[in-house]
Amino acid sequence: MMSEEHFETTLSPELASDEPALIVDVEGFEGPLDLLLMLARQQKVDLAKISILALADQYLAFIEEARKVRLELAADYLVMAAWLAYLKSRLLLPEKEGELGPSAEDMATALAQRLRRLEAIRNAAEALIGRPQLGRDIFGRGAPEPIADIKRPEWTATLYDLLTAYAQQRQKRALSHVRFAARTVWSLAEAREALERMIGVSHDWGRLDEFLISYLVDPSMRATVMASSFASVLEMVREGALEVHQHQAFAPIFLRKRADETGAQTPGSA
């Protein structure tokens, strides 16, 4: 049977039943039944032969003690106390003939039975927890080798899928013989090449649009020539090959080849 050292209680089990504990720690108990069971164990007899009368006295004394030290007692402890006081009085008084409900003896037996049952399940709980546990005492294979799942695809398609795909495809192709006019674009490379050629000859400031005048004749080319040239100009400035200057927003952009080392004058701020 279970030994008593497992009780997390400050009530020392060694205390005789007539010496109520001075330190009363209800916290340590799992409810009034647990407390009763602990007290019953102190009678050191088989629970089947327990004296319920003595047990009731012990319990009531315990509760009394707890009250003396003004301990807050949960209601169920008090309910149990009231019930035990009632049981005690019934046990002490002679049974009246024809009284309704269970006899005092029956109630006492039922309480003893409950205590036995609680003790039995506690022992069972200990036995269970005491078993070798997986991952604590015993171990399974640490590195299982997963079953290789070789999936063989089974292709499915319906006739509808097939016909839809075919019809849509044919139809799309039949209607898609539209040609888009190729767009003329001045590439960055083209712009740069033209700029280098034109600026290479002079160290003077010149207007970008004048440099490009021959390329800007075709109106459809205007935007792409300006955009690509400007991007190329910025790139060349970053490389230190050009200087660029614009007086204000939308004003003409001036540029010239960068003077090496000589630090030629710039007209205004750059």
């Binding site: 647990d34 399940i121 069972a124 070798p132 997986l134 005492d137 015993i138």
Partner: protein, 237 residues
């Protein structure tokens, strides 16, 4: 087998170790040990049979294999009705370092688990009746988290409370072949303490984790599963 030759004078046991498996050791034993080693998880005989060549007497292969492994550091055991290899019980000291310190259950949780195991299917109120104290939601949650218990149905009684039972993982964790192998069960049964004070007619003195609902149980309802409580309950019609 060629390796046996490399055993030389300083071997610790007698020479016949190398040929301890007579050539006649049935191939089936090799197949089953490979299957169980590889799987890592317990396999039932039906699964084993389906993976083995036609006509293998699985039960007898298992008996042989179990006997072969009984004296070893790894044993063939049956848990939850399935077969698996486990390290031997007596080697916990050696392997303890491998274990991730399992969260120790509180006393309340221990007792609640035991009551669910021995009295299943059981409602929270019935657990409280046995312990004489309220069972906190937290205790049930902790146990649900272990995966060892599950809500299995609802008691046909006022309030239709959930009934709890143990899972396959419970059996695996505690190394039980079946719920009937719970320690001390016979003793409990003998003293009539399992019957308790459950409403007469409802109580069945033996625990059962059979998924089949008892007469006094209704299936879980869809809402019950939303609680995240029930992992997977097949609604039964």
């Amino acid at each position: 087998m060629g390796l046996a030759k490399s055993l030389d004078d300083d071997t610790l046991v007698e020479d016949d170790t190398s040929n301890q498996f007579p050539a006649e050791r049935p191939e089936e034993l090799r197949l089953v040990e490979a299957l169980l080693f590889a799987a890592g998880e317990p396999l039932d005989e039906k699964t084993l049979r389906s993976r083995l060549p036609e006509g293998v007497d699985v039960a007898s292969v298992m008996r042989l294999l179990q006997a072969e492994y009984a004296p070893r550091g790894v044993n063939l055991v049956r848990v939850a009705g399935k077969w698996t290899f486990r390290t031997a019980n007596d080697l916990a000291w050696l392997l303890a370092r491998d274990s991730v310190e399992p969260k120790k259950l509180s006393r309340a949780a221990n007792e609640t688990l035991a009551i669910i195991a021995y009295h299943q299917p059981v409602t929270r109120a019935e657990i409280e009746e046995i312990r004489g104290v309220t069972v906190s939601k937290g205790t049930i949650d902790v146990l649900m988290e272990t995966g060892w218990i599950r809500p299995r149905g609802r008691r046909k009684a006022p309030g239709r409370p959930l009934t709890f039972g143990t899972t396959q993982a419970f059996l695996e964790h505690f190394g039980l072949e079946a719920i009937g192998d719970l320690p001390g069960l016979d003793e409990l049964k003998g003293t009539g303490l399992l019957e308790g004070s459950l409403p007469s007619g409802f109580s069945v003195p033996l625990p059962s984790d059979d998924a089949t609902l008892r007469d006094d149980e209704d299936p879980l309802e869809p809402g019950d599963l939303d609680l995240g409580l029930a992992p997977r309950a097949e609604p039964e019609e």
